[in-house]
Every structure is written in C-alpha cells, then in structure tokens.
C-alpha cells in the first residue's frame, strides 16, 4: 500500500491515500438511515400485493386501524388525487408520438401490477405493532392473467395498463436503417445471435430505508433516506408528487450502504412516509426487509436481443443491426425509459469504426418489479451485445479475436459514431496489448493442455468495452428527452483560519469522495488534507446537486469543485495583491502561498483567508469580504472510459461447473486521483459483472408472476470464493480532453466489461456459439449435452 504521510502538503493527486472516511465505518459509528432514531419515533410497514396482477375488490383496514399502537393506516384512496411518481426521461416512438406513461401511484389504487406492489402503509408506535396490524388488513383480489414473458407480452391477452393494450411503452429507433440494410447486402459474412441479458437485483447490503419527520413549527419536512441524489429526490417528490414547497423539505442521505443505481430513484415508500408524517404528526421510519428489497427495489438489465453483424471477407465491420426488447416492469421508474435507449443503443459502436448501425428498441410493461438503472445501466447490455457478436464473428471467420478487434478499432479522435456520440479520445490498442501481456495469453495453450490432461475444458474470452460516463451535457440530454439538467454544483467555503469545507452535490455511498475530493482540494490550495472537510448528502447544507450515478462524481462534481477553487484563488490573489501592494496580475499562487512574481514578497493562504474575514486592511472599493465561492459545471461531452478484459475459465464437463481461473482488467480512465480507490471500484464492478455472468438471476414464475428468487437462499449472490485474484491495471491512458482534471470515471467499468469476457471464455472452452447467462452448472451442463 502506498499510504502517504497524511501531513505531507503537495502532490496528493495520483497517490493511494488511505481513506479518511474508514474510521467511522470500522468503529461502528457510521450513521446509516436505520441508525437515526428521532424523538417520538414511530414505525411504518407496507402491505404488499401477493399477486402479479389483480383487481382490488375489497380493502378493509378497520381492524388494523383499531389495533394496539396503530397511529394511521393509509391506502391508494389517500393518494388517488395527487401525482404519480414521475419518469425523468421522455422517449418518443419512431412515429414521433410520446411513450406511454401510465400513472405510477404512490400506493396502488384499484389494481396491483406486480408481486410486492404497495397496497397500504401502516404506522404504529412500534415496529412489532405495525407488523401485527399489517396482518389484520383485509384485501380481496380478483386475480388477472399476468404478463411476464418479454418475448411474448401479448400471450395472455392481459394489459398491465389500459393505456397500453399491447403492453408496449414505446418503439424507438436510432441509426441509419436503410444504410445498414444496404451494408448487409455487400457482406461476405454475417454473424447472428439472439440472447437474453439476464435480470438482476441490485442488492446493496444496506436495504432501502427512510425516516420522515414533519415539523409543526414551520410546516416543513425532513427526510432521511438511503439515496444517491438527495436534491433530485427532493425535486421529484416536491414538484411532481406531493406539492410540498421545495424550501420546506430537507432531504438527508446520510451514510448510505451501497447504491449501484437502486437508490437513485424516487420510490413510493419514502413518498408515502413523508405525506403520512404530517398526518400522524410523528417521525416515521421504514426499513426494507431483504425480501421486500428483492420484490420492490428497481431491478436491472432484462433485455432480449437479436443482433446481426455484417463483415467483408477480411472481417472489417460493415453494418450492425440490433433489435432489442427491454423489460420496464410494471411502472416507469425514474430513469427506466432512458436505460435501454439513450444509455444503451448509443454505445453500440463499441470501440469499432462500424460505419452503419441501426438499432430498434421495443420497451414493454410486464407484471414484474420496475426495472431501471443498475451499475452500468444500458452500457453493460450494449457491451454484451457488441462483444459477444465480435467474439462469435471471430470464431466463425477463424480470425484471432484480438486481431479481429484490432482490425476494426477506432484509431483517430475525435470520432463521431453512427449512433450519436463523439468519442473525444482513446487508445484501444494500449489497453488491448497490455491486457494480453498481463493475462499471459501466450501461455494459454500450455494451460489448456494441462486442463485437458485432467479432463477439464479451458477457454479464454475477450471483451473490449467502452462506456459513456460523466453524464451529461444538459443540452444534449434535454434534446434526447431528459427532463432534468445533468450538471453538478460545488461550493468551497474557506474559513477565517484557512480551513476549508467543501460542499458537493455528488454523493458518496462507498466511492471514497471524502478522500479523493480532498486530494484535489489539497493540491489546488496547497493545504494539508486534515484542513479539509468534504460535505455531501444534505439539501440543507449543499446548494444543489444532481448526485452520483453513471460514474460522474469526479468528472462532473469534481470539476464543479475545481471551478469553485479557481474562483477562490482568483479572489485570494486580489486580496494578496492589496496586502503586498502589487498589481493583481503580478500575483502567483503556488504551494499554498500567494507571492509577487519575481520577488520574495509573499503571503500564505491562511493570512489571506483571515484578511477576508477580518477586513481591516482590505480593498473594500473592489471586493466584498469573505472567501466563499460556488460553481456549477455542465460538461460539454460525455467521458469515454474504455479497456480490455480477458477472462480464462476452466469448465468441468462432468458437472458443468465453471471456475474463473484468471481475470485481467486493463482500463483507461484518463487521469487517476487515487489509484487504490480506482482499483477497488474495478474489483467491485468485476464481482457484479462476473456475478451476472455466472450466478445471479431474478426469476419470475412465467405463469403466476411470483418472484422465485426472493431471498439470499434463492438468489445467488457472489461470495469471496467465487472469484480468483483479479489482475487489475490502469494504463497511463488518454486524459479526458474536456474536463480540467482529465478524468473519465471508473465506477461502472468492471460491471460493464466483464460479462461478455466470461461468456466468451465459456463458449471458447466448450466450442459452442452461445451459453445463456447466468452460466450456472445446470445451464452449462445442458449446453454441453446440447439440451434446451
């Protein structure tokens, strides 16, 4: 570990500084939502639908309401006249009409649409009393046929929503359809595959939780919630649902135990809690049980795709045609519509100069939990589509998979893809060649022979991913249907003594911002790390924020801080010029000292800050006192992290068990602030991606719509012994060209790049064209024996 002396002053950027936030987590004094206990605390539980699709014919809460300790029982009746939970992204159909946007009620009214749908909220003095009363709620259901199979959403004749009788939310297209069709006519070879991108449960180990309090003194609310973007949560809840004035609502996302996307969204649970807290005039806490989390957290992925890749005789890609059906679940979650479109199809160029691409996406409603962004969000599905196709094509053409990729790599930048993005920079050969070295591809044949001697099969698979991170230029996002801006805000408050509090709209729920962001500030201001505090996650403290997702925190949130720091330094120079009796333009700032260029006259940062707040000798005619600056940063482009992953598996043909023997990840994240934290992000992403490929699957019974994988007994969560020691390296890389730190983002790469590498390796081992995810022993065994 390259732990630096924390008292050292300069050169924090690029160092593996151990995390400052660790101590509170390691000693048990972190404050997660469930740890917050308010005066007069009461407890909420939800009655949930046991059916995938049913009419509520009777809902009698009288007995529950009269039960001991019960403070209130609330149903869809109470919410029927207020707004539903909004969807933040409008997608238009090919014919220009808007997507179907049926109401997503806070509590179900008249009908339930998935197992786990919220039917009633019970508030009681104790959790035990709330649960006891829950059993007294009488609900009669008229069960309807369920829509589960996305391959055939009209099979049962049922409509999840009356507004969408064919269960289609939208039919969307991107790219050049005619041009792509034309390219296929000149193809020497076409590779075709149909596959499912399996449905996943995010499974942050901290379940979703909320604690809502109404303050009678000024008719305001405070909501503590396990959430990744408290300002967005506040805006959506106030402006679109409850009509609470935004200045009367404070949302605090305290320590949050992992998010992975699932805590971006505005959910009905916390919305109901906020509303009910005024009814019962008490704070109400709700913490999801794990089984509730499986039923009601927004799931991820769940695409069914057919892709065709047209090539010339030398394997140059000519055209790529993709048809995807995406499951949105029963209701449109906050960013659900954008995931299989804007965040998916725009990445279908991958690292390749495919001249013509056409992608059609049909998104459907089903009687399953809502599906939304989960680590990678659309980009893992795109990478899986591209990288499974490329590898399959290589095998069909008899070309080495690395060589086929190299033949098609984009090598000149900026590069405008046929699907709407412009890659600013990259060096795909650098990560490919380094990954090949690190993975010892040269030694694969010998290892394969060893495996075969033992009766085992060994395979090697590549994946060369690209992702679009740092979302997003607001104007571009808006043109594509976003109903929000996607900038970030930061504030640098310099205290009189030169200590600094930085307020950021990004939110850390494991990413280590309290360390990484402080490294940036320490270097810019030339002050020690311990003079800096990073504050996040509280709308009462932070001016605004769009939050953390899409690997955007440092690229967007970090840049906002840098811009605020630049303003602090600019003002500091003017104060220093006054103190040093020099011209503003002659002042330089370096290593925490303002000095007159070419002289030995100088004044340290803390003297300037003191002067700003004790302005006895101060240029009052030119400046206001104080040293506090904020900045908003709206990026001019996405960032484009990319890399090559290589997986080597050994498969036991007798049992179908796949063992990942080696996994190598070589990434280009541009500049890196803290290599230790970046590596840790990749490790975590790899575990989720390999988990998707081998273990995890949300399974609904296709007839009843019951979730069959509703606990850790049934859903295969990755554990420590499912993985080898990952070899992870970040190349020196190509810095992002359009943010001052040159950073691209690293949070999702592991989950994006790894699934196709694993499946490609298994296909190589078994010499088969496809193995469905997750490649469980049973599935692999059936593949070996050529069974459906």
């Amino acid at each position: 570990m390259n732990a630096r002396d924390p008292n050292a002053k300069l050169g924090f950027i690029g160092q593996s500084i151990v995390r400052r936030e660790d101590t509170r987590f390691l000693t048990g004094v972190g404050q997660y939502t469930d740890d917050i206990h308010l005066s007069q605390q009461s407890y909420g539980v939800f009655v949930r639908s046991p059916h995938a699709h049913a009419r509520i014919t009777k809902l009698d809460v009288a007995a529950a309401a009269a039960a001991p300790g019960v403070l209130g029982v609330y149903t869809g009746e109470h919410f029927k006249d207020i707004g539903g939970l909004p969807c933040g992204w409008l997608i238009n159909n090919i014919d220009g009409t808007p997507m179907k946007e049926p109401k997503h009620p806070v509590l179900a009214f008249g009908k339930v649409r998935y197992v786990g749908d919220r039917v009633a909220l019970i508030v009681a003095e104790t959790l035990e009393q709330a649960k006891a009363a829950r059993d007294m709620v009488e609900v009669d259901y008229d069960v309807l046929p369920a829509v589960i199979d996305i391959g055939n959403v009209t099979a049962t004749g049922a409509a999840v929503h009356d507004e969408a009788p064919d269960n289609q939310c939208y039919l969307w297209h991107i790219g050049d359809k005619e041009g792509t069709d034309e390219a296929f006519q000149h193809a020497a070879h076409v590779t075709t595959l149909t596959f499912r991108n399996n449905r996943l449960a995010p499974n942050a180990i901290e379940p979703r939780a909320a604690n809502a309090a109404w303050n009678p003194s000024d008719d305001s609310y405070t909501l503590y919630v396990a959430n990744q973007n408290p300002h967005v949560e506040r805006l959506l809840m106030c402006a679109f649902v409850l009509g609470i004035p935004e200045h009367k609502m404070r949302v605090v996302a305290p320590d949050v135990g992992g998010g992975f996307g699932s805590k971006i969204f505005l959910y009905g649970e916390e919305t109901a809690l906020v509303w009910a807290s005024k009814q019962v005039r008490r704070p109400i806490k709700w913490v999801a049980e794990r089984s509730e989390a499986f039923l009601s957290d927004a799931h991820g992925r769940d695409h069914l795709t057919t892709a065709e890749l047209a090539m010339d005789k030398d394997g140059h890609f000519l055209g790529f045609r993709v048809n995807t059906t995406a499951n949105l679940g029963a209701y449109l979650s906050t960013f659900a519509s954008a995931v299989p479109t804007i965040l998916y199809a725009t990445l279908l160029a991958g690292q390749y100069k495919t001249p013509k691409i056409s992608c059609t996406v049909k998104s459907v409603f089903t009687n399953t939990a809502p599906v939304d962004a989960y680590r990678g969000a659309g980009r893992p599905e795109a990478t899986y589509t591209v990288e499974r196709m490329v590898e399959t094509a290589a095998h069909e053409l008899g070309i080495d998979p690395a060589e086929l990729r190299r033949r098609n790599f984009i090598t000149t930048f900026p590069y405008a893809t046929p699907v709407g993005l412009t890659y600013d920079t990259g060096d795909y050969e650098a990560t490919m060649s380094r990954a090949i070295e690190l993975a010892d591809v040269a030694g694969f044949a010998a290892r394969k022979a060893e495996s075969e001697a033992k009766g085992m099969k060994r395979g090697l698979g590549y994946s060369a991913y690209i992702e679009a991170c740092g979302i997003a230029p607001s104007a571009v996002a808006g043109a594509l249907g976003a109903r929000a801006g996607l900038f970030e805000a930061g504030e640098v408050r310099v205290h009189p003594t030169g200590k600094v509090t930085v307020f950021t709209g990004s939110h850390s729920h494991g990413q280590g911002h309290e360390t990484t962001f402080a490294q940036v500030v320490a270097d810019k201001l030339g002050i020690p790390l311990e003079d800096i505090t990073i504050e996040h996650g509280d709308t009462g403290k932070i001016l605004f924020g769009m939050g953390t997702y899409g690997s955007r925190s440092l690229a967007v949130g970090g840049t906002a801080i840098v811009k605020a720091l630049d303003k602090v330094i600019a003002k500091g120079k003017k104060i220093a010029a006054h103190l040093l009796e020099a011209a503003d333009t002659d002042i330089e700032f370096e290593n925490g000292v303002f000095k007159v260029a070419g002289t030995d006259k100088s004044v340290p940062f803390a003297n300037v800050s003191l002067t700003a707040y004790v302005p006895h000798n101060f240029p009052h005619d030119k400046l206001e006192p104080g040293l506090n600056e904020n900045a908003f940063y709206d990026p001019s482009n996405f960032t484009y992290p990319a890399g090559t992953y290589i997986c080597e598996v050994e498969v036991d043909p007798a049992t179908g068990v796949v063992r990942v023997d080696r996994f190598t990840a070589c990434d280009d994240f541009g500049n890196v602030i803290n290599p230790m934290i970046v590596e840790g992000q990749v490790h975590g992403g790899l575990a989720q991606g390999i988990g998707q490929a081998l273990l995890e699957n949300c399974t609904y019974d296709v007839d009843s719509g019951q979730l069959l994988t509703g606990s850790y007994m049934d859903y295969a969560m990755p554990r420590a012994d499912n993985f080898p020691h990952f070899v992870v390296e970040t190349v020196k890389g190509t810095p992002c060209t359009h943010n001052p730190l040159g950073v691209k983002g690293c949070g999702e790469a592991g989950a994006i790049g790894s699934p196709p590498a694993v499946i490609n390796a298994i296909c190589d081992a078994l010499k088969v064209k496809d193995v469905p995810m997750p490649a469980t022993p049973h599935t692999v065994w059936k593949t070996i024996h050529n069974m459906q």
């Binding site: 000693t27 004094v29 499974n203 901290e206 992992g258 794990r290 012994d721």
Partner: protein, 158 residues
C-alpha cells in the same frame, strides 16, 4: 419480561427484554449500538456478526436471552479505550477493504474469528472462510488482502 444480564464490550449490562427479542434487535434497538447491521432476513449476509465469548455469531439468528451471562463484543468494542484500532481494523483501512462500510462491522468480526481460530495460510482458505459474509462493493479482493495482512500481524505477535 425476563431480566437479561450480560457483559457488553467489557461492561456489565442488565436490561428487561421480551423473550422473542433477537440479539441483533437487542444490540441495535435496546443498547443503541448501531454499528451492528441487518442486511437480510435469512442469516445469509453476515452484516450482524458479533462475538459471543470470543467466537463469531450472527446476531440475527439467536435470541437476546441466549446471550445471558456471556461476553458480547460488538464492533464498537474492538478498538482500545484510548482509540487504538484493532489490527484487523487497521488492515481493512490500509488495504482498502471497505467501501460503503455497511457489511464492514460484520466482516471485521468474522475476519477476527477466522484469523484466531481457522487456517488463513492461503488466499483460497481465507476466501472460503469469508463465505458467510457478503459484500457488494469490494469484490472481496481487498478484504482478503486485509485478512491476510492481519493474519501475518497476529502471527508476528504470537
């Protein structure tokens, strides 16, 4: 309600508890020691792991009254009175063995038991020993590294 007497982090504690109170509820709700977490309903995730008489147990899977007369140590009781971290806590910090921190208390308590009572001589053995604790953030690699480092440190002390 039965009166429960036990030692918690070195101090004698007496509380009335309902007989159906889980140990994890007792720790979190009665004692307000919120470092011990609940991550699942089925005894799988290990976030609630504490030490009872020096051995790791999942506090969601036993009743509070079963801890009567015993020595309970939670994550809050690991560091010394002067604030010096336990070698396992130090190793987790140095090796970046935690991200969101939610599984961390249980992971650290399990890891200490693992080092004290089981074979940690190889990465494979450590990985197998951590089977009962889930982490969604780290991919386990740096947890394994931390446990190996703490095991070395413990060996050096012995």
């Amino acid at each position: 309600m039965p009166l429960l007497s036990l030692t918690v982090n070195g101090k004698a504690v007496q509380r009335e508890v309902a007989p159906n109170t889980l140990l994890v509820e007792f720790i979190r709700e009665h004692l307000r020691l919120t470092g011990t977490h609940t991550g699942c309903d089925t005894g799988q995730c290990g976030a609630c792991t504490v030490h009872l008489d020096g051995r790791a147990v999942k506090a969601c899977s036993m009743l509070a009254t079963q801890a009567a007369g015993r020595q309970l140590t939670t994550i809050e009781g690991l560091a010394s009175a002067t604030g010096d971290l336990h070698p396992m806590q130090t190793a987790f910090n140095q090796c970046h063995g935690l991200q969101c921190g939610f599984c961390t208390p249980g992971m650290v308590m399990s890891a200490i038991d693992l080092v004290q009572h089981h074979d940690c001589s190889s990465e494979a053995k450590i990985r197998e020993g951590l089977e009962g604790n889930m982490c969604r953030c780290t991919g386990y690699q740096n947890i394994v590294k931390a446990v190996a480092q703490a095991a070395e440190a413990t060996k050096a002390l012995a």
